[in-house]
Amino acid sequence: MAQATFSIWRGNAGGGDFVDYRTEVTEGMVVLDAVHQIQSESANDLAVRWNCKAGKCGSCSAEVNGKPKLMCMTRLSDLPLDEPVTVEPMRAFPRLRDLVTDVSWNFEAKKKIKRFAPRPPDAPDGTWRMAQEDVDRVQEFRKCIECFLCQDVCHVLRDHGLQERFIGPRLLVYAAALEMHPLDGADRVRDLWQEHGIGLCNITKCCTTVCPESITITDNAIIPLKERVVDELHDPLVRLFSKRDRK
């Protein structure tokens, strides 16, 4: 059977380096299979996060040949195996150990976004009525598996490290899902501008490109939110009839 070389980053917060491992490649294998095989054969303590192995949980995010990917959905047959396949942790997050990074910031930042606040129920039995077409738009955002690859590739976070001022594409998608939820009545527009730094996104669409769920992050989530910000906070006419009237 064919062999291939995997150049895997080993180390921790203090530093590290790439280590080459050779392992057998069989039909249908994905990068995560190779990592597991290496872990079991020759590197028992190789740290990697994974759960579902089917692209549904968003745990095994890494950079494969420099590209942000879910390791479980990246097939070896799609990679050139005549040269080493590099596997390294996501660069936008602090390194913990080998392929595992500290993604806790995402969970903390999410808490700062105003929670879901439904309107009173539509029917006497306490339920609501919603049309499928209104639900469709938000269901796209709710496909998100929180793999944080979009956060990893976003230059505001990755290159400029502005985590304190910008919540990043994942959480803008989360905010969009709330803002466009047919039942939600809360207003997050001022927060998006002042607290969540939506103005820092300059629509390079890198997030959309890497999304394993094919969510149209920039066009469907971020741009409509930016438009709401402009309409509500910067349009003088709208400001005149302030938000209080809208509610």
Binding site: N44, A54, F107, Q139, C144
Partner: protein
Amino acid sequence: MAEAVRRDYDVLVIGAGGAGLRAAIAASAAGARVAVVSKSLLGKAHTVMAEGGIAAALANVDERDGWKVHFADTMRGGQYLSHPRMAELHAREAPDRVRELEAWGALFDRTPDGRILQRNFGGHRYPRLAHVGDRTGLEMIRTLQDHGIHQGIDFHMELTITTLLTAGAPGDTRVVGAFGYDRERGRCATFGAGAVILATGGIGRAYSITSNSWEYTGDGHALAYEAGAELLDMEFVQFHPTGMVWPPSVRGILVTEGVRGEGGVLRNSAGRRFMFDDIPANYRTQTADNEEEGWRYCQGDKNARRPPELLTRDHVARCIVREVREGRGSPHGGVFLDISWIEQRIPKAAEHIKKKLPSMYHQFHQLAGIDITKEPMEVGPTTHYMMGGVRVHPETQMSTLPGLFAAGECGAGLHGANRLGGNSLSDLLVFGKRAGEHAAEHARSVGAGPIDERQLAEAERRALAPFDRAGGGEGAYAIQHDLQSMMQDLVGIVRRAPEMEKALTALAGLRERAARVGVHGNREYNPGWHTALDLPNLLTVSEAVTRAAIERTESRGAQFRDDFPEKDAELGKVNIVVRKGEGGAMRVERVPLPPMPAELAAVIEEMK
């Protein structure tokens, strides 16, 4: 001496899947100080993999549905070994639990008049599963997660509990906390708690072909067993009929039953719909006897009966095994599941399939290079769900050990000999909430208990022992691998006494190897070490499964005994209980089923 960081709560929840999150939300709402610990990050637990939907008799699609029908379906599916009171509470309360999710932001697919849409599923008489395409579990766990983070609950992610701490004289013990380690640095952690809720999910990693991730090593089952609680129904392991079989690296990954609910059919290598060949007597009146009627059912015709592909999972899995064994399987040892054929029946079939089964489309396209809108899938049984678990009180979810509660997959009682699809998501909401409320109440009434320093020191010694053998011991992966193949071969879908006796001998050998396991590296995020500590749990649950399966000398539900292929009426009156005996040996015992209240017996009769 113990180096562990000590934290104190009223209620400690172990596990952050649907059951754990729902329990934590309920306990917190009841005023308790609550912590959730989870082996993985928040939102990654196995609930996320649930695809088809959540069963609740909302009667949005078929007004004939109601709690009584759901109750009767659950009892029939469980071959009447389920706890009737649990099945009743589950059927009565599931609709409210689903509506509550909507109030917390979940967005289910809609009916034309804007209510929650429901779909057909195996063993459910009417369309009953509220769903979001084929990613219902993701919707559910995210809703609970996003609601839960605003409830004042402390989340400790990537922290594994290895030991429950108890207090009190023998025969009068209670649970007072738990000991574990964090994965990131390998630091020890101690939790004091008035009540502990186990919500650790299943045991799928005891088998080599499984839909379960690394996490499902029977931790809750083993923690409860070691602390002295009883386990119930451990012989009933659900093998889901449709897992992927090719390529090898994806073997076992789940293919939702929703494919069949949408009209997908099972065929053998001769192209025959073999499910028509064997329809069990107790389902005959409810099952279509021709292809035309089956299709009309999937299209919502209320006068049609369901196609045999939607019979219960245990039965479908066995039929697939039969086809493969008799030489009518697909090239890679499965059978064919075909949804593409519906293009003969409906316009724009490809779009319809992608809309209704988006993640199946994606999964096969990406991982197997197959377009399910154009060609059939190859599928075969995969270890999926554990019906057995911690024996609990049907209303409070407290185990036989005071202070210890269990909910979701690691609890037992609702599903009996076979779980219906869609009943796990409703199970974890209904009984997660109940466990949370009752645990909070229990903690309030008994308060914190004393933590025994010796127990703590012993727990820590055991957790760190593999490092003492760093140089010499065998690696954990090899032992785990051997355990999985052994269980797959000897205690799988088709079971025989001599093979299971062999399994017990093999387990003893594996236990010896596990006692000598060594790890490389240090305590920082070291999966070799983590696997070494999961091993004893896997061995305990494997032994419990095997011993309970030997004890049940009949075929019923998920348990199929080649040497006892029929049901035994006497065994239909008992559950099998496993507990740790004095001296440490595993004890197995038959206990009479809980009494069936007359009004519930009448419901079953009425729904026949």
